[in-house]
Symmetry: C2
Subunit: 443 residues, 2 copies
């Protein structure tokens, strides 16, 4: 295969990826802000040797939002806590470049990296919800292209700050009284279009060189930014062919930026329903789907189509053909319109499907069938692994870890033990080059 082992992230969003998961009988009430709930998930995920926990995030909501978006832990404080009860699994959090400052973001992820011994990862997003603007002194959300320009500079500044202290810069030489080696400390002196950041950062070099950078977004700007700067790409892909094309495109683009294709791991999101039998798996899905109210389904579909009002159209008719492009979420909108067209779905079918999958591929089956489907994409260069969007916690995760992981291990597709101590080592990523390696810049 030449790709090494499959990489598996665990997408964490409240009680589960399924929008009605909180209504499932097995889920403890009010889990959204229960540390014990997340601790159990983290421990099962680590027992299953998964690569990383992957926390979604957002900075606004409205009354129609996924329940996981209403009240939730702030990701960095939660991951700080989870760093104590885990020892190998990566800890990835989402943070936007649109309503943050590079110094804070650089610092928090590097602090988490020191707490966890090199297991921190930052999922870079540019803010999907327009309403976030109103919580941050802005009347209007920035345009998509400006958000991406800002994001690119933001990531560069963060990487620059992460390189403030060279390896070995902190001496703590008690005899001489020299605390650090001045020649190994570097200011950034960044002056750019969006940011002016002097540095240096008050956090020493990462145990893994620097925290892992994850990115989502399948727009042209998103792909370009990811190919240039990301270690891991999180994407929504529905078909093998589509995923292969995306995979090829990103890896080629990375080459154009002078990077080796192995340096970027592509992990599509994937909702998985595992049963001991195929029927059991399908029942788990349909039981959850029944808990979705029509209002919730339509609301989500409308949002994914750029807040397009679907109420004038018959529920059992097709999607209208005149849904306009908007500033937000362009790539997901396109994928959904194509899906409805390909599968000949009505608005009702699409809305319940979308509410259940939230734009990601869903697979069902017994452990062998699940493993077959993961293997097919992996060996056919459609991905380097998956971001598991499991429907309800902790049951779906326990199913995956106890039933699917052993099957993948038997096939040689997934690790038996963690390869290293840091997330970067487990993902099979090299330590990034240190920017001041051959210079002698002073603070």
């Amino acid at each position: 295969m030449g790709q090494g082992k499959m990489k598996l992230g665990l997408f964490l969003m409240g009680t589960g990826h399924h929008i009605a998961s909180w209504r499932h009988a097995n889920i403890p009430a009010k889990s959204a802000e229960s540390f014990a709930f997340f601790q159990e998930i983290a421990r099962i995920a680590e027992k299953g040797k998964l690569d990383m926990l992957f926390l979604s995030d957002g900075l606004s909501f409205d009354k129609h939002s996924h329940p996981a978006e209403l009240v939730r832990f702030e990701p960095l404080t939660l991951l700080g806590a989870l760093s104590v009860v885990t020892s190998h699994i990566g800890l990835a959090a989402t943070a936007t470049t649109t309503y943050n400052e590079p110094f804070h973001i650089a610092r928090k992820f590097l602090s988490l990296d020191h707490l966890s011994g090199g297991r921190s990862a930052w999922n870079v997003v540019t803010s999907y919800y327009q309403t976030e603007a109103r919580n941050f002194n802005a009347k209007q959300h920035l345009d998509h292209s400006i958000r991406y320009k800002r994001a690119e500079e933001f990531v560069e500044v963060v990487k620059g700050l992460w390189d403030s202290w060279e390896e070995g810069a902190v001496l703590c030489d008690k005899d001489s009284g020299q605390y650090f080696d001045e020649s190994k400390l570097h200011s950034l002196h960044h002056q750019g279009e969006f940011f002016s950041v002097e540095g240096p950062l008050n956090s020493s070099r990462s145990p893994q060189g620097r925290p892992v950078i994850v990115q989502a977004g399948s727009s042209e700007e998103g792909i370009s930014l990811a190919a240039k700067t990301a270690d891991v790409i999180f994407t929504a892909q529905q078909t093998l062919e589509g995923a292969q094309a995306f995979y090829k495109k990103v890896k080629e683009k990375a080459s154009q930026f002078g990077r080796s294709p192995e340096e970027i791991k592509i992990m599509p999101g994937l909702a998985i329903y595992t049963g001991r039998t195929e029927e059991e798996a399908e029942n788990k899905y349909s039981d959850l789907q029944k808990l979705i109210t029509p209002e919730v389904g339509l609301q989500i579909l409308s949002e994914y189509l750029g807040d397009f009002d679907l109420s004038p159209y018959p529920l059992d008719g097709p999607l209208p053909s005149d849904i306009p492009e908007t500033n937000m979420n362009q790539s997901r909108r396109k994928l959904l319109i194509e899906l409805a067209d390909r599968e000949n779905m009505t608005i009702r079918e699409l809305s319940i499907h979308v509410a259940g999958s939230r734009g990601h591929r869903i697979i069902f089956g017994n452990p062998q069938q699940i493993a077959d489907q993961l293997e097919e994409w992996f060996v056919n260069k459609a991905c380097d692994g998956f971001n598991l969007m499991l429907p309800y916690f902790p049951d779906s995760l326990r199913d995956f870890v106890e039933l699917v992981v052993p099957e993948l291990q038997k096939r040689g597709l997934f690790r038996e033990e963690y390869e290293g101590a840091t997330l970067r080592e487990n993902l099979g990523l090299r330590e990034p080059e240190y920017r001041y390696a051959r210079k002698g810049v002073e603070v």
Copy 2:
């Protein structure tokens, strides 16, 4: 006494409050970014029934900074981690209102509050170092008075966001499918001079009503802000009379704002050297003082005097009388000039003293002598407790917990067991009134 028990916070700054603490033989090398080091401190502090851990912070440094300011954990991620290994002690972190956004700050401290079961506290500062500006897109630090105006509005917005969700707003009613009660969710709609924040916050009501607010700063603006909004005041006081005057002033000011004096706990910073004998205590101090180089001492004194250059003046002469007022740190500057004058200190003596105490009072003694001094201030209405600035960790803390705490308990001055589950309960503070208690505002 009528003041209840004494409240004790533990100031946490790297390897200890003493600037040369990192050179002490008993301190493990490179503790600044070692979670194990902080975990041990937290556990000893909780064994001693202390009220809270109190993390200092800053967003810039230069090569002359206290080693604890060079590389350090980001406080909220560290406290997230410490919330898991503690169960009663409060978790306070410093965060500036000058280079942050209210939505982020409200969210992080409330997230920590949910992680810890109601033990979170925010130490509100307005940024002391001018150099912080240059890490946040600003050429110049804001003026003192603008910083305080911004801080006041910032704190109001944060408190408003903390009131987004009423108690009992999150229903999780699985049968009906109702996740929350819309009538108990409130947007803020804040439009002010510095901030425009819509809300609501994506974090439910605090287990302690709201996180505890701590403030330092003894300038007129600082006192006014604290009297209006703080639950705890951290201050630098050198003399019993000065502390009593400050205590009276703040409590009276609080009354003017319609608050009960018991609602504000005043806790001066205090460096403590405990020995089994007085001589042992004094030796601990002088051993550490010997590790301070003259350069370090002068640098700190100069900084505390508003970056006043002392190099033209004889080290063994008095402070010059023409040190100008500046925009930063006015109250500490005044206290130092008064101290030098009162004690007739030379620049050298003052600089080594300042480097050792960093502007805070130092006391020495055997356990009885330490307890006497704490008791004197406490019973004479100079304070409601102390913020312990212990010279080197974990030894100084172990000394305090094993030698002084039992003496204080024997005298009935300090708790034998935590009174409650939340920080607010342990501090003896009422739950704050809920702003929407009698209104029916909609999101």
